[in-house]
Amino acid sequence: MNYFLGLFVSGLTRGSIYALLALGYTMVYGIIELINFAHGEIYMIGAFTALILASVLSIAGLDALSILVIASLVAMIYSAAYGYTMEKIAYKPVRHSQRLSALISAIGMSLFLQNYVRLAQTSNFLPFPALIPRFTFLDLLPFRASSAQFVIFVTTAVVMILLTFLIKFTRIGKSMRAASQDKTMAMLLGVNVNRVISVTFLIGSATAALGGVLISSFTGQINFFIGFMAGIKAFVAAVLGGIGSIPGAVLGSFVLGWTESFGAGYISSDYEDVFAFAILVLILIFKPSGLLGRPENKKV
C-alpha cells in the first residue's frame, strides 16, 4: 500500500509540473491556434535563471525558503519577458500566414533558445540546489514521498486557482475568452487582441518558469536540453485533456503523470516514455478532441 501511495504522490508531482507547462500550451493554442514548440525552452530558461540567482543569493547567506521565493519570482518575470519577446519576434509577423509558417517558426525558436543557452552557459549537466525546504508537517509518507513533492503539488494547485479566478472574473480574462472564441469579433468590439495575446504569453511563460524551478530543485540537475522532453510531455498532456481547454490541460497532466509513475513502478521504468506516448497515440485514435475538448466546429 505504501508503495502504491508513493507512486501516487510521485505521479501527482509529475502531473503538477506537466500542468504548469501544459497551461501555456493550451492557452496559447486556445487563442492563436499555434503549438508553441518553444514553450519547453521557456521552462528551461526559468530553471537556469533560478540556478544563477540561487547561487548568488546563497553566497549572500539567505535561507533556503527566501532563496526559493526570490529565485522563483525573478525566474518567472525573466521568462515571461522571454515569452513576450518570442511572440513579438517569431509569431506575430507570421500570424496571418499559413499555420505551417508559425509552426516552423516555433520549432526554429526552440532550437535557437536551446543552442543559445548551450553557448551562453554550458552543455554539461549542472547541479541544482534543493531549494524547497523540508517541512516536517508535510512528511506524510516517510521514505516514500518527500515534503518537497507536496510543496510542488500545493503550489500548482494555488496557481490553478488563481488562474481560474483570473480567467473567469477579470476583464482581461473575459477578453481572453472572447478572443479565443472569435478574434475578429473581439477586435471589432474594441478589444486590443494584440495585448490579449501578449498577456497570454506572459502568463503561460511565468507558470512554465515556476514549473522549471520547482522540478529542478526536486531532481537536482539541469542542462540546456531539459525543456525538450518536458515540453513534449506537457504537449501530450495538453492534447490528452483537449488542447485549448484549461481544465483539460490540468486533467491531462495528472492522467499522464500517474500513467508514467504507475507504469514505471509496476511494469518497468525503462518504458516510462513509451507509456506517455502510447497514451498520446491512443487518444488521437479514439478521442482526437481530448478528454475535455470540444469537437472542432468548422466556422462557415
Partner: protein
C-alpha cells in the same frame, strides 16, 4: 456628416470588389446600402470598419460636435474606440460566454483601468467593474432581452441572438451603427419589432444607422436614403421612392431592361 467615404476602392488580386464608391451619412440618418448578391456591400462594410485595408480612398468619421477623424488605415479596435460599431450577417456572438459577458466585452474599450488594476483590484477598478455590469444590464433592457442575462449565449432563440448582437454593439458607445442584414432569417413579426427597435435607438441614443439589407419592405419603410451598388459600383442614390423607380436599379435586380 458622421461618415464620409471618398472614392473607396478595394481590389482582391485582379478583382475590383468596390470601385470608387462615395458615400455620406448625416447625423441621425438611417441609410441603407442595397444591391444584388456579390455587389460588394459587405466588402464595403469591412473596409469602413477596418477589417480590410482599402486599396485607395479615404474613410472619415466625426462624432457629432467633434473634429472629423480619418480612420482609413486604423486597426479595427481603434476604430471601435472612435465610435463606430457593427453587427454581422451571420451571427457572431461569443457562444460559450453568458449574455451579460458578451455585452461586457463591448464595454472594454470604454474603461480606463488597466491590467495592473485588474490584478491589484483597487477601489477604482472594482467601482468601474460594477458600473460595467450595470451598463451592460441596461443595454440588454434596451433591446429587450434583460431576462436572459445569465443564459449562455448559444442557448438563446435566434431573434434574441440578433438583439444581443445589437446590445453588444451599443455597449461600445457608438454614434454610428452599421448593421449587416439585421433581419436575415427573421419572421415578419420579428422584423417589425426590429424596425421599431432601430427607430427607437436612433431617437433615444442619437445614433446614425447604416444598414445592408435584402428585405426590401424593411429597407423601404425604414431608410431615409438608399445607396444601390452593383458589381462594386454605385448605380443609384436617393430616397426610397426615387430608387424604386430608377431604371438602373430595376435592371440590376431583374437582369432585364424592363423599362424599355
Amino acid at each position: 456628416m458622421v461618415l464620409d467615404v471618398r472614392a473607396l476602392t478595394m481590389d482582391f488580386g485582379g478583382l475590383r470588389a468596390v470601385d470608387h464608391v462615395d458615400l455620406q451619412i448625416s447625423q441621425g440618418e438611417i441609410v441603407a446600402l442595397i444591391g444584388p448578391n456579390g455587389a460588394g456591400k459587405t466588402t464595403f462594410f469591412n473596409c469602413v470598419t477596418g477589417m480590410y485595408t482599402p486599396t485607395t480612398g479615404t474613410v472619415t468619421i466625426a462624432r457629432p460636435g467633434s473634429e472629423p477623424h480619418n480612420i482609413t488605415r486604423m486597426r479595427p479596435h481603434l476604430i471601435t474606440a472612435q465610435g463606430l460599431a457593427r453587427t454581422f450577417q451571420n451571427i457572431r456572438l461569443f457562444p460559450e460566454m453568458t449574455v451579460l459577458e458578451n455585452v461586457m466585452i463591448g464595454r472594454d474599450c470604454r474603461l480606463s483601468a488597466g491590467i495592473v488594476g485588474a490584478i491589484l483590484r483597487n477601489r477604482k477598478t472594482l467601482e468601474e467593474e460594477e458600473q460595467v455590469v450595470l451598463d451592460s444590464f441596461r443595454m440588454l433592457e434596451i433591446v429587450g432581452i434583460g431576462k436572459w442575462a445569465n443564459e449562455t449565449a448559444k442557448n438563446l432563440p435566434y431573434g434574441a441572438q440578433r438583439r444581443l448582437e445589437i446590445a453588444r454593439a451599443l455597449a461600445t458607445e457608438p454614434f454610428l451603427l452599421l448593421l449587416d442584414e439585421p433581419a436575415a432569417g427573421m419572421n415578419p413579426q420579428e422584423t417589425r419589432d426590429l424596425v421599431a427597435l432601430i427607430r427607437r435607438l436612433r431617437f433615444d441614443h442619437h445614433l446614425s444607422i447604416f444598414l445592408i439589407e435584402h428585405d426590401m419592405s424593411l429597407v423601404m419603410t425604414l431608410s431615409e436614403r438608399i445607396y444601390v451598388m452593383d458589381y462594386g459600383k454605385l448605380i443609384a442614390v436617393g430616397e426610397p421612392a426615387e430608387v424604386r423607380r430608377d431604371p438602373a436599379v430595376i435592371k440590376a435586380y431583374l437582369g432585364e431592361d424592363v423599362s424599355a
